[in-house]
Amino acid sequence: MPVTDAPAKARALYEARRTRVPIAPFTDAEPDLGMADGYAIQQELVPLLLADGDTIVGHKVGLTSKPMQRMIGVDSPDHSPVLGSTVYADGDVIDPSSFIAPKAEAEIVFVMGSRLAGPGVTVTAARQAIAGAVAGFEIVDSRIADWRIKLADTVADLASCGAVVTSSRIVPIEGVDTRLLGMTLTRNGELVDTGAGAAALGDPVAVVGWLANVLGANGVALEPGHIVMTGALHAAVPMKPGDVFRAEFDRLGAVTARVGQLVGAEESA
């Protein structure tokens, strides 16, 4: 049975984004909702956001690690467009009141050099279409209360994408073993976690190939200049006002995400 009233569900997510008041998981009332239902809602939500003047600057791929897939109970990643209004530059102060329950994920971000359209995209074709890589954070956030998400809920909610932060130096990846590209994450100067590219689907370049093939089935292509967020290399870390996150990538350099203070909010510890 297809999802009931995808437009209304998309509207609920749209309002939750606008008001920062999270909603109950759709799967509470309709436990049978699956991945296709999630995408049906996502496809209703995106036009609402674009109608407000937003743009699509690329895509994110989530659930790229085995532990995350096991947690959500799937064996494939998910994806969503990345909106232009949610892109921060390296070092920008991020307003915590724009989020509900944000978490930081350090990711290898690819910038597409040429158009890439599935089906039939191989890993080698994906690599040839990539102009280079930048250091990035994805700030994941859930418009679903308390991150109580099942697969359909997160897919509908733009794959829980909140915002992205990227460095500006596009580093060509020719000859770079992206599986072994290392990353060291600190919060307020203290080591939090480490990882390497292989944490994202075995190879972040493979993530681009997977994405191009999945989008291609719907007639959508990766366009030159599009960014692709290839998935977290570590467990997501909750963000608090005042936090400074820094992800340093071998070969790519560092990217910093600074969380601002809550203005006019109650004193927070």
Binding site: K66, R179, L180, G182, T184, T194, G195, A196, E248, D250
Partner: protein
């Protein structure tokens, strides 16, 4: 508590491939210093050494066992596997493998004020390593003093061909561990005490208190960079470190 008797119990556990219970549970006065004294008895009986190893170097592992500093042990030549040589699990109790960055010392290094930069300057190269741990304690249940007495669970190790450090930032260099063809963990060098050379420097400073130090040619396993993966016969473990190399270890 008799240091020699405790060492004998651990040697017997190795020889009979039979795990024992925590010595610390039976001997509450086995503290860290006493643990190192037991380890010293084992070391004196172990034959020629090829180097040293760090343990409990990750923040996660330190938090897990409630300590804030690492530990170290010795590497007897008898524990070395050559590149391509399979691991004979029948000689071990409960083997686990972890990927490590290995320093090869180009000159002697000792002293109470040695830092990470000194370790790098004294190293002729770095290599990929796989350490095969094999706690002599049942189910790896031990206290810090226990694990120090047990030579920090050291059992076997394999070291790849060393490469020069030139241009490699060991803090951010990527590390991937595969088990039977599947990526099971990733990390960067910082997973060991923030920087693997800092871990080695800690050990050199700790050794200086006993008037010891590193010698030219020593290899130093600078600490596990991921959780250790248990292995059984038929398993294959691959450790890869960006620009340093890969090692494949088959188990039988």
């Amino acid at each position: 508590m008799n240091t020699t008797e405790l060492a004998t119990r651990l040697q017997k556990a190795v020889a009979e491939r039979t795990a024992i219970d925590s010595l610390n549970a039976e001997f509450p006065d086995l503290d860290l210093d006493a643990g190192y004294a037991v380890q010293r008895v084992l070391r004196d009986a172990a034959g020629p050494l090829v180097g040293w190893k760090l343990g409990v170097t990750s923040r996660a592992k330190q938090a897990q066992v409630g300590v804030s500093s690492p530990v170290y042990g010795f590497l007897p030549g008898s524990g070395a596997l050559d590149i391509g040589e399979p691991l004979d699990t029948s000689q071990l109790i409960q083997p686990r493998c972890e990927p490590e960055i290995v320093f090869v010392l180009g000159r002697d290094l000792a002293g109470p004020h040695v830092g990470a930069a000194d370790v790098i300057a004294a190293s002729s190269g770095v290599a990929v390593g796989i350490e095969v741990l094999d706690s002599r304690y049942r189910d790896y249940k031990f206290t810090m003093a226990d694990v120090v007495a047990d030579n920090t669970s050291a059992a076997r190790f394999v070291v790849g061909a060393p490469v020069p450090l030139d241009g490699i930032d060991l803090r951010v260099v990527g590390v991937v561990l595969e088990h039977n063809g599947e990526v099971v963990a990733t990390a960067s060098g910082a997973a060991s005490l923030g920087h693997p050379a800092a871990a080695v420097a800690w050990m050199v400073r700790r050794m200086a208190a006993d008037g010891e130090g590193l010698r030219a040619g020593d290899v130093v396993l600078s600490g596990g960079l991921t959780a250790a993966v248990p292995v059984v016969p038929g398993d294959v473990v691959v450790a890869s470190i960006d620009r340093i190399g890969s090692l494949e270890l088959g188990c039988r």
